[in-house]
Symmetry: C2
Subunit: 206 residues, 2 copies
Amino acid sequence: MTAYAPETPDLLTLDPEAQDLLFREARTANTFTDEPVSRAQVQAIYDLIKWAPTAMNAQPLRMVLLESAESRARLLPLMGEGNRAKTETAPMTVLLAADTSFHEELPRTFPHATGLKDMFEDNAAARQRTARLNSSLQVGYFILGARAAGLAAGPMTGFDVDAVSAEFFPDGDHEVLVVVNLGHPGEGAWMQRLPRLDFDEVVTAL
Amino acid sequence: MTAYAPETPDLLTLDPEAQDLLFREARTANTFTDEPVSRAQVQAIYDLIKWAPTAMNAQPLRMVLLESAESRARLLPLMGEGNRAKTETAPMTVLLAADTSFHEELPRTFPHATGLKDMFEDNAAARQRTARLNSSLQVGYFILGARAAGLAAGPMTGFDVDAVSAEFFPDGDHEVLVVVNLGHPGEGAWMQRLPRLDFDEVVTAL
């Protein structure tokens, strides 16, 4: 039984068990067991979340899977100090990045809007804004997708964005937004659950 | 039966019906029936998705529910032309915004990190970046949450961001990121399903 019972259960269609899996019982993990996470599991997550929407079907999210000790070692010194130990021991670490050259794919992914690729080609600011916003939506989908795969996710933004982006995307066209550790929760994986803002605090009705 | 069968079903924990509801069968709706959407339904969505993670538990998402014809009329001329008709007829329209003064709440929402509020107070760029990134994650959660409530979501980024933000948040501390229509799909609600990028196109393994 969850400690966070649905507050308005009859208004949701999604099965309560799925609500728990994705939202109420899932927590950000800070330690992991040795149980490995495979590339196939990350593909299963992606093949589920790729259907969730992005503006103009732009899909600017790109991912780097750090599967080897060598690639992990390149990341660690660029992470915030408090994020190093858990990132070193996580069975899988994924860099989630915005591709600011996403517009190259638009003729294929959004074929009816001719001219859109050229519009973005000429407007680097619009490209960056669209890439960041829509990749971030996809990061949200990815975190829930990891939970849908029965994994604990440990998303982190405490790292040197410019350095990590340059290290893993030397083309200069990508910005790493979030680094996510994936695995099965280890001992002492959870921090204390922190308070959430109430509906009335975040909503205005007009 | 869905036309989009799970590609790797045995690797996911989430029930296939829930996978369909949230990802595979759900689509961006462009028309809606007259069936209303209540404030209680939006609250049920929020009370589910509020548990999903944000960096430093910052929760910068703020929402405006346009429940009256008067408030809707203020929005319509600021929407892109192609987004006006559907926004006028949607039973509920929600503005999803980033609050760049989210740091005011940190002493309550992230109490152990003393000094964080002051750090953000002195760094408007970090505040904007954190607000945008984490609100966008929450927009992703919200879109899936709407589907969890059995509603069709129609997220839109085609609007005058500065004008909509100024019209509905005169304090200057908020930026509207996405406008979402909510309802039940009407006649001709769906565009053709557009292609998604393959795993191999978005992933590098190192």
